[in-house]
Structure formats: C-alpha cells, structure tokens
Assembly symmetry: C2
DNA sequence: CTGAAAGCGCTAACAA
DNA sequence: TTGTTAGCGCTTTCAG
C-alpha cells in the first residue's frame, strides 16, 4: 500500500482536500457528520500528513530544539524526558543540539542551526540560559524560546526555575538543627549561576543563626568529584575541621565522601555530608547521600508547555513559573559530634 | 532582511535555480567560475536551503532518529554524542525517541513516528536492537537502520558491537592471575543480551583454568545497584565467601561495594570488586572501581557512519563493525588474600 | 459550512 | 555545462 495523501483521503471521503485539512488540524466549521466521514477515511487509508509539506506550506515544523552544554548526563536526560513528555501530548518532535558555551563560534553555530528554520522554538538549559549573546541571537532570528533555570533577568523571556537559594537555606538550617556549627561549604562552578544562588541561601541561614563562617571553611569547586575531594581534604586537615560539609552538587559530595574514607573519618558519626541534585549517584555511595532534589523533569515539562503555548497562541507576555526543591535525607548526615 | 530563497540566489548570480541547486548539493558538472559566482551570492544573501522544501521535493529529510529504552543516562548520552558527531560532519540532525521496550504498543508507536516519514534512517540501541518485531516493523516501512550491540543475527541489518564475551574473559583471567579462585558472578538483566555474553566469557575463563564454579557464587541481578548489593550480601554471608566479585555492570558493582562496607569487609584487601561499563560512578565510589570500558561513543559514531553511507549510496549489503573493549584497573581489585 | 486555486521552495527529469 | 518545467503534499486565501 503506497503512502496515502490528502487527495486520497478527500476522494474516499467524498469531500475536498480543504475539508480534510480542516479535520486534521481541528479547525472549526466542519459538520459532525463530515468530520466522521473524513476520520473514517483517514483511518482506513492509514493516512499521516507529511511534515515537510505541512511545514513548507505553513512555515511551521512541529519540531523544537533543545540547546545545552552540561556535563551531567542525568540532568540532560531528565530535561530531555521532561520536554518529550510534553511534546508527545502535542505532537511535536525534539531535536537535540549540544554545544560548547565557551566556544567563540557558539552564536554562529546556533544561528546556523536555526536559520534553516527547521525548528519552531528552542529550549535553553544552564549555562546557556545565562548567556546574553545567545539570547540576542535568538531574538534577532525571532525564534521563540524558553529558558530553564536562568540566574536573573527573568523578564527577558519565558522561563522556569527553582529557588535554589531557598533550598540551600533549608538544608543549612537542617544541619544547624542537628547541632552543627562548623559547616564547610564547597561552591560549584563559577560559570553556573546555580552555585551563587546556593551559596547565598547557605550564607543566609548561617547569618540568621549568628554563625560566623571562617574563610578556611569555604572553598571553590567545579561541580566535579575531584574538586570536591580536594576541597574536603583541605578543610579536614585543619586543626578545627568542620563537622559537616555542604557541597554544591552530588559529584563534589561524593568527592567529600572519598576524602573522608581516605582519612578514616566516619560518616555520619564524625562528619555529615550533603549534596545537591539528587542524582543517581546518591544511592550508590556509601553511606547514601543526603541531598536536595530539584524537579528537573517537571521543570522541563513546564518549560515546554510554555513554549508550545507561545507557538500556538499569538499573544503572550513572557510567563514564568517556579517550582519547589525538597530535602532528601539519607544516611550521610546526622547529629553533630559533641 | 527577509529569508533568501533559491530564486534570489539564482538572480543575483545570474544563473538558473537548477545551477544553484547543483552547487548546493555538490553535484558535478558545474564550471568552476559558475560555482564561485553562486557561492558568492549564497554568502552575500546568507542563504540556507529550506529543509522542508528540500525534503518535500526529494523525499529526504536529513534527519535520523535514535530509538532507545535504556535506564543508564551516561550510556544514552554517550550514544547521542557519538551519533551527533557523525551527523554534524554530514549535515544531518538528530531526533530522539525513547520508548518502552515491553510496551504492547511499541511497534505501533514506532510506526507512528516513522510513517510520517520525517526521518531518513534509524539507530537502535539495546535492548531494542534485539527485538525481532521492531526490526520487522522497520523492514516493512523500508526504513534503513543500524543496530548497536545486537546479541545475534548480525546479518539481518548493518550493525556495530563489542565483543563483551571476550572482554569478560579478559577480566576473569586478570582476577585469576591475581590468585583468585572463588570468584562470585552477578549476572545482569536477563532481557539484555549483553549479560549473557558477559557470563559466557567469564565462564570460559574459569573453565580454561579448570576452576569449578559452585552455584552459590552465581546470582541473578538486574543491572541496578540494589540487586548488586543483595546478591553480594548473599555470597558474602556464606561460609566460603568469594575473594573477588565480578558484577555485570558498574551499578551492581557499586552495590557490592556497599555490601562490603556494611559487613566491614575491606576492599581490595579482603575482596576484589570489578564492574563493566566504565561509567562515571567508577571514580565516585570508594575505592574507585576497576571495570571494562566499552567505546560507546565510537560505536555510535560508526553506526551512524554506516547508516549515512547507506542513505547516500544506493547499493550496500549489511556491513558490520566490531570494536574492542579495554580493562580499566583502579583500586577496587588486587591480589587474593591467602 | 465547504471548495477551488494558488503557491510554499525545492529537486527530478528532461531539453538544449 | 546549463536551463525549463513539473510537481512533491500540504495550507492559505478567497469565493461561494
């Protein structure tokens, strides 16, 4: 059976192709009876509209692109799945496009991808959501886009995000509640805005509890395990080592656990360790890691919903949406030693 | 500046649109001088061919789809990156489509995606590479495809794979060489063909060294951490516990490490642990995990190259390509205790 | 509520 | 080596 076209359907249903088109696109003004005739014919012929013809005629591709540069596989996968969940509902497909955010050619490359106008809209993840040049490029192409977890300037585009700062504050308060007073902090990659937000929330909690944070208990990390381990070794080898360490993500927290093991420090009896992300490694470490869960998939889903709304309705201001993080307490944290 | 079309380019270059088309598609039989004129015009107008028009006229979309159902984020990401690497060279884009391999609707869903004929070809990863119905569906749609790491029937389609059996045998021999004689084996998910291959290689090595494998040292796992931990606890609590454990993937090996920690068994002094995959968690555990590295990205790259070749040349038999695994020795394995 | 006609921007087949 | 002409299968516009 050759591929059916709209003409075949129209012929079989005894209507014009325009009417078939109306039914396929859920346009109004088609009598119920006619609709049914058409749908029958469609089913009978196993008809699927050709995306290329559709998009040539209407200038819409029903394709969205995800642009990203993020080394965390589980983050990317979660975002992809969130996007796809929403896309399926609305009959869009997803095209993925990793890129290097530090690359001088970044914007050219993006322009190159998008000016083929194969895609209707774009979803941006950190750190791309915070690069002004990328936004300018998209704006100049008049390409609709939504940003996931941008640091600031929420008004510049539709966007969705979590309150990282608030979540970090909650976690710090949890540790303080357990009696910890010397709490080490390992910052994340300086290019990722999430790190600054987390540091802010952490600082707030300490300040509110009148805990002074000596410099030796704050170190720069880069969101990878090695930097977490190095930072922890530094802190733990001082004369007044911390009784808890807050790492800005789980990978670094895993590094802290390694450091503790290598120094024969018991977790959580002598040292509490917490991370951020609730990545799969949390349940692979020993002991399992207390952390903060961001609803990544839901964020991506909402982002996609905003984007697709913007693509179907004409008028939209830039909506934004924020979601909550939650503490996940496992075995790596406990009361402070006396 | 409005989007330039092929007509604009033709006008500016003073040639017919067909000639522009020839230049764009690198067809032969265009004089050097003409080519240059055309290229200049293209650059000047910043012309990009419209994918929809192209694909409507030529019935090719320059889009490939990756179909998968695999819970391992890093595996999927590596495959995606391998595919994209090759796609970029040849100006294809990638569309991703996760699905549930046990779903009764699987084939319908695939057919639904592909019969829109938006994509030119498909890449299949395990366990989808081993599902006959999926292959039948693709065949009946005359959709070109390449399988990554199929278990058998290599002749049914183009495919790329590693010799898992051989790699597992090498690893077993390494452990035997360290003096281990009681080596526990934790199988992977029975639906993944990789598990059987790994078990076979492992068994071969033992047989060649005349080591008998008692039943208590072989357990079924499911490629997740929990099943690895449970299996290890069983083995380690017997009266003659193993001195080494070979887990069919790294997640399960991480579970083994957890089990050992919880029983206060020292790794590697009392117990060697090895995994398979060289996933990111290998360097996050304590101690870091010895394992086997599959060149996933390269596999995907080769697979894509085969697919795109098939799409450009008419005549191809089903090529196949195999790549090598390598042992990665870290801190979780060492000499057997006496 | 329905239909006829005119493209969308390209490639394929054929002519020159 | 180059150009001409017909579509590809749909949506849009406008007319009934």
């Amino acid at each position: 059976m050759a591929k059916a076209t709209i003409d075949n359907v129209a012929a079989l249903a005894g209507v014009s192709i325009k009417t078939v088109s109306r039914v396929v696109n859920n346009e109004p003004n088609v009598r119920q009876a006619t609709q049914e005739k058409v749908r029958d014919a469609i089913k009978q012929l196993n008809y699927r509209p050709s995306p290329s013809a559709r998009s040539l005629a209407s200038n819409r591709s029903f394709l969205v692109a995800m642009l990203y540069d993020n080394p965390s596989a589980h983050y990317i996968i979660d975002v992809q799945h969130g996007i796809l969940k929403e896309c399926r509902k609305r009959n869009y497909d997803l095209l993925i496009h990793p890129c290097k955010y530090q690359d001088a050619e970044l914007c050219h490359e993006i322009e190159n991808l998008l000016s083929k106008s194969r895609v209707d809209g774009v979803i941006l993840t950190p750190p791309l959501s915070d690069i002004p040049e990328v936004m300018t490029t998209l704006d100049s192409l008049k390409m609709p886009y939504v940003r996931i977890s941008p640091a600031e300037h929420h008004e510049l585009s539709a966007c969705v995000y979590c309150d990282d700062s608030r979540a970090a504050k909650d976690m710090a308060e949890y540790l303080i509640g357990l009696g910890h007073r010397r709490i080490g902090f390992i910052a994340g990659h300086p290019d990722h805005s999430s790190s600054a937000a987390r540091e802010e929330g952490f600082g707030q909690a300490l300040a509110e509890h009148k805990i002074k944070q000596p410099k030796r208990l704050v170190r720069q990390g880069f969101y990878d395990c090695d930097s977490g381990r190095e930072a922890a070794l530094h802190m733990l080898k001082t004369s007044k080592p911390p009784t808890a360490i807050f790492a800005c993500n789980d990978n670094m927290a895993a590094g802290v656990i390694q450091a503790a093991h290598s120094l024969n420090i018991d977790i959580p009896a002598q040292l509490s360790v917490v991370g951020f992300d609730d990545s799969p490694i949390c349940t692979l470490t020993w002991p399992e890691l207390s952390t903060i869960r961001q609803p990544i998939e839901e964020l991506a889903e909402k982002a996609t919903a905003l984007l697709l709304n913007e693509l179907s309705n004409k008028p939209t201001s830039h909506e934004e949406k924020s979601l909550h993080c939650s503490l996940i307490l496992r075995d790596s944290s406990g009361p402070a030693p006396e």
